[in-house]
């Protein structure tokens, strides 16, 4: 069925950079990245490279349904939702059309909607909802940034091509040669990508991640001209921090990067807020912008659709026909731990390892073909992966750019939107 096919300018959905310059080939029904792949995309494409015929069948109570009996699995799922007093729809690793279908079904069922990354989403959103920020986007960084400060992240572990695509590019709009300076601040795994092609080394300021809030506080003091008695903060000398403020104040277009997933400690939102307030302060005289990195596992895609359709961001409850936003109570972990939900619908269409959390409540899983479970869900429906098995849309880290995903092969896996739509018709 599938013939040899090479494709260029393919969009990759496997991290928030959403690179759209991949080349792929499909040879003997095996999908492969042949150019511009990174560690994440190569791995993800390899895992999904081919689909075994046996993995195409939905299972009900662990038993594969017969040929052309997708409808039977969907009917079983509908039965579970019909009997549910409070369902939870989580995972939400899908594309825009999948999310549109899920929000509609959630409204019909009075479900709670959550994404497994919502604790991280909430760290950023709570800053947005309390004080806000000044941010920029990828092409601005690529063309303007002369100073890039990475706070608590090496960027490349979660966003492998960050430096390749945004930093060490040859062409810039506003100068022949853009001398970029790189600074790392925090407990950083891999600073090698921050070495410039000409060998210029980045400035590395190591400190414990949990201490970044103190460092941000000290930087704000220095920026605003307040005197600090201490000679060092969190093991970093004041002179080093003064030097960093001097660099930021003198940069034409400084960028401070954070990746919320890497700031995973109690009250990290206060660190992010302090970072954002520093950026705001610097803009009284110069231009400096924050660059939040995120969007892996299509979490920002799920959040965008939820926010525009409902008004509230994730996690949100639609119980009793009323939207309600409580980011601390409506997380999957908390709801399952408290026994506050009685049925789980889990959607995970990009990566087979993103399986649902262990639970004893009835569960329906729309997952990648070949997904392995410790506890078999009551209904498992293998679904298509957006960008491989069907076209679709996904949002990039900056939430400005939604990129089209292309279909690269044909198979019988249904799209999430199709399954959810069919399910809703039965309710």
């Amino acid at each position: 069925m599938n013939k040899l096919a090479s494709r260029n300018n393919i969009t990759c959905p496997f991290c928030g950079l959403v690179c759209d310059d991949l080349s792929t080939s499909l040879i003997n029904e095996k999908l492969e990245v042949t150019a511009n792949g990174c560690s994440l995309s190569k791995l993800a494409f390899a895992q999904l490279s081919s689909v075994n015929a046996s993995d195409l069948r939905p299972r009900v109570s662990g038993k594969p349904v017969g040929d052309n009996e997708l409808g039977h699995a969907i009917a079983e799922a509908a039965g579970l939702l019909r009997g549910s007093a409070q369902p939870l729809f989580s995972g939400l690793m899908t594309d825009v059309s999948g999310m549109r279908a899920i929000t509609s079904l959630a409204d019909r069922c009075g479900a709670i909607l959550d994404h497994p990354n919502s604790a991280a989403l909430t760290r950023n959103l709570s800053v947005l909802q309390n004080s806000g920020w000044i941010t920029t986007t990828f092409s601005e960084v690529k063309n303007r940034a002369d100073l890039i400060v990475l706070v608590g992240t090496d960027a490349v572990t979660r966003f492998p091509r960050f430096f390749e695509r945004l930093v060490w590019n040859k062409d810039h709009l506003f100068s022949e040669e853009l001398k970029r300076e790189i600074v790392y601040l925090g407990d950083i795994k891999n600073t090698q990508p921050g070495v410039a092609p000409n060998g210029r080394q980045p400035l590395v300021i190591p400190c414990n991640q949990e201490k970044l809030g103190e460092i941000m506080g000290a930087l704000r003091c220095i920026a605003t001209g307040k005197h600090i008695e201490a000679t060092e903060i969190a093991g970093v000398s004041i002179q080093v921090l003064e030097k960093l403020i001097s660099k930021l104040s003198n940069a034409r277009y400084g960028v401070i990067v954070w990746a919320v997933a890497d700031l995973d400690f109690p009250h990290a939102e206060l660190t992010i807020q302090s970072l954002c307030e520093l950026v705001k302060y610097l803009n009284k005289t110069t231009r400096t912008c924050g660059l939040p990195l995120g969007g892996n596992d299509s979490d920002l895609t799920a959040n965008q659709v939820t926010t525009w359709q409902i008004g509230f961001s994730l996690p949100v409850s639609l119980a009793n026909g009323r939207p309600s936003y409580d980011p601390h109570h409506f997380t999957t972990t908390s709801l399952l731990a408290q026994g506050a939900v009685d049925t789980l619908l889990w959607v995970s269409s990009y990566q087979a390892q993103r399986t649902p959390p262990a639970t004893k409540i009835p569960s329906i899983v729309l997952g990648c073909a070949g997904m392995q479970f410790e506890n078999e869900p009551d209904v498992f429906i293998p679904v298509a992966t957006p960008g491989l098995d069907h076209s679709g849309h996904i949002f990039r880290s900056d939430t400005v750019v939604a990129l089209p995903l292309r279909q690269l092969r044909t198979n019988s896996l249904p799209a999430v939107a199709h399954v959810i739509g069919a399910l809703q018709k039965l309710l």
Binding site: D20, Q129, T137, S139, N143, W308, Q309, A402, P404
Partner: protein, 556 residues
């Protein structure tokens, strides 16, 4: 399906009908002429004593796209004050200052609006804008693409490229972003802010490109004129909110050099520098200029007292005004060498001098501009106030005693600084129908909208007669969208999907070769992923039908 609407009092300015009592016939979503006597009428509505108008059109309302969604995410406390519960037809969602797309569609429809135009579609963010508009039920939609701060355009201007090439780029952008018009926001200013410039007057140079806003305005007004795009350049002028902006707004009008130009939310650009507060009304000068220059049209951007949120592409001005944020939170973004945005919550207070005078200035402009065909009723939703305040605004325009009574309650010093108390004009229903129906349809080139003559789309609103226009306009008896009854007594009775309106002016495709090279060198998306195809528009728009309006290309 043949529907007869019997005996309503029709206000249809496009067809010169001012309170004419007549029947209307609807078939297949359109208004048709009186059928033969033996034709079977499937449905009849007795509209005796009711008022009938075409569906209203909001030509400037921020309903979809990145900055609107930032505003939504930012304001959970505001949403909690206006929860829309699920019904058998409508979904649960939130309203007020930054309503969800669903609430936007429901609430506009319930008020008798059947078409809404998003005025700030960043081409790089157009896909999201179309997705959000696609998730805005019932009403028709369209967007204006932002140009004039994008580096490709500014580089062409700085290199003194031919107008013809710029016209090609403008047309290419309309195709790529699937929009119906072009808007420029703070011409050159958004880009200048990225170079740390904090203000840019109409004749001041951008520090990098050495271009002035005047040059940008002249080039873009010319481009739209040459391409024959029905809607003239939609201009958010320089110096938003600045005392003294009345001067630069007058200069902005002149920069069009007689070509058609639409100046949006002009209230925010009509401030003088007189008086103890160095803040005064420029409304009289602005209105006089509008009255004299028939090439100029405006929408007002009226403010209303209360909580709202401002969402604008003008990050230079939003950053300047961020210290007014209430509650104290705000977002400013530089975006993709394309544009920018700023989101700043505002609480306009009647006891605050500046806010009180802003309110009066907007109303002065409404009342001093003589030609209702060139002034449109907007609050620049949500920047001046949420669109749900329109019925109240209409009452302020139609009822001078009500207006004067509200005026008497605002900041005492503001009362002294406005002529509003001495203006006796009251808008008639006919004039309201012009400014909310006939005129916006005309200026957008929508032949099927804004009127109820034969051949028009059957977007029809039926109001109860009421001495209080606020009550009358808040809850129409019936709203028909394409002939289907979608709202009754201010409640949704059917969910439909509106059209998306675009233009596709002719152009020389050679421009794309240059754009491709530019994108490869400087951008972070592929050119082919920047462009939205017809099929993709339909997908983004949730299956919305695309209506393409004709352009009449003029030799340049």
């Amino acid at each position: 399906m043949l529907i007869k609407l019997v005996g309503g009092k029709v206000y249809d300015p496009a067809n010169n009908e001012n309170g004419v009592i007549r029947d209307i016939f609807v078939q297949d979503g359109c208004i048709v002429s009186r059928p033969h006597d033996h034709s079977r009428i499937d449905e009849t509505y007795d509209l005796n004593g009711k008022i009938v108008m075409a569906g209203a059109i909001d030509l400037h309302t921020h309903i979809g796209g990145g900055k609107v969604n930032i505003a939504r995410a930012m304001l959970p406390e505001d949403h909690r004050q206006d929860i829309l519960e699920r019904s058998n037809l409508t979904r649960s969602c939130c309203g007020r200052a930054a309503p969800s797309t669903l609430a936007t569609g429901y609430r506009y429809t319930e008020m008798g609006y059947t078409a809404c135009f998003e005025p700030a579609v960043l081409p790089i963010n157009a896909r999201q804008a179309h997705m959000e508009m696609g998730d805005t039920p019932i009403v028709d939609k369209g967007g204006y693409a932002l140009l004039g701060n994008d580096d490709f355009f500014l580089r062409m201007m700085a290199a003194n490229e031919d107008q013809q090439l710029i016209n090609d780029y403008v047309a290419w952008t309309l195709h790529a972003a699937k929009c119906i018009g072009i808007k420029v926001v703070n011409p050159g200013g958004i880009s200048a802010f990225k170079f740390n410039q904090r203000k840019l007057d109409v004749d001041e140079e951008h520090s990098y490109y050495r271009l002035t806003p005047r040059q940008i305005l002249k080039t873009l007004t010319r481009a739209l004129h040459d391409l024959g795009v029905p809607h003239p350049l939609h201009v958010h002028a320089s110096n938003l909110g600045v005392p003294g902006s009345d001067d630069s707004t007058l200069i902005t009008m002149g920069a069009a050099e007689g070509l058609p130009i639409h100046i949006t939310h002009i209230q925010f650009h009509s401030y003088g520098t007189e008086g103890d507060y160095k803040f005064s009304s420029g409304a009289a000068r602005i209105a006089e200029a509008i009255n004299k220059n028939s090439n100029v049209s405006v929408d007002v951007g009226q403010i209303m007292f209360g909580q709202t949120v401002t969402a604008s592409g003008d990050n230079m001005s939003q950053h300047r005004n961020a210290h007014h944020a209430n509650p104290k939170k705000w977002v400013v973004m530089d975006i993709e060498c394309d544009a920018g945005c700023g989101v700043v919550p505002f609480k306009y207070r009647d006891k605050n001098f500046v806010n009180a005078l802003q309110w009066a200035i907007g109303l002065e402009i409404f009342l001093l501009v003589q030609d209702p065909w060139r002034i449109f009723l907007t609050t620049d939703h949500p920047n001046g106030a949420p669109f749900t305040s329109y019925p109240h605004l209409i009452k302020l325009l139609m009822d001078k005693s009500f207006r004067k009574s509200v005026l008497s309650t605002i900041h005492a010093d503001a009362i002294k600084m406005t002529t509003l108390g001495s203006i006796e004009r009251e808008y008639s229903l006919y004039e309201i129908a012009i400014m909310t129906r006939a005129a916006p349809a005309k200026i957008l080139g929508l032949s099927g909208h804004g009127h109820i003559g034969v051949g028009a789309n059957a977007d029809i609103v039926v109001y109860h007669t009421n001495d209080d226009p606020e009550i009358m306009f808040a809850k129409p008896l019936y709203v028909f969208k394409r002939g289907e009854l979608v709202a009754k007594d201010g409640a949704i009775v059917k969910i439909t999907l509106g059209d998306i309106h675009i233009v596709k002016p002719e152009f020389d495709g050679a421009i794309e070769k240059r754009l491709r090279a530019y994108f490869e060198r400087y951008h972070t998306v592929n050119l082919d992923n920047f462009k939205i195809s017809d099929d993709e528009l339909s997908e983004c728009g949730n299956g919305s039908r695309m209506t393409i309006h004709p352009c009449n290309k003029r030799p340049s």
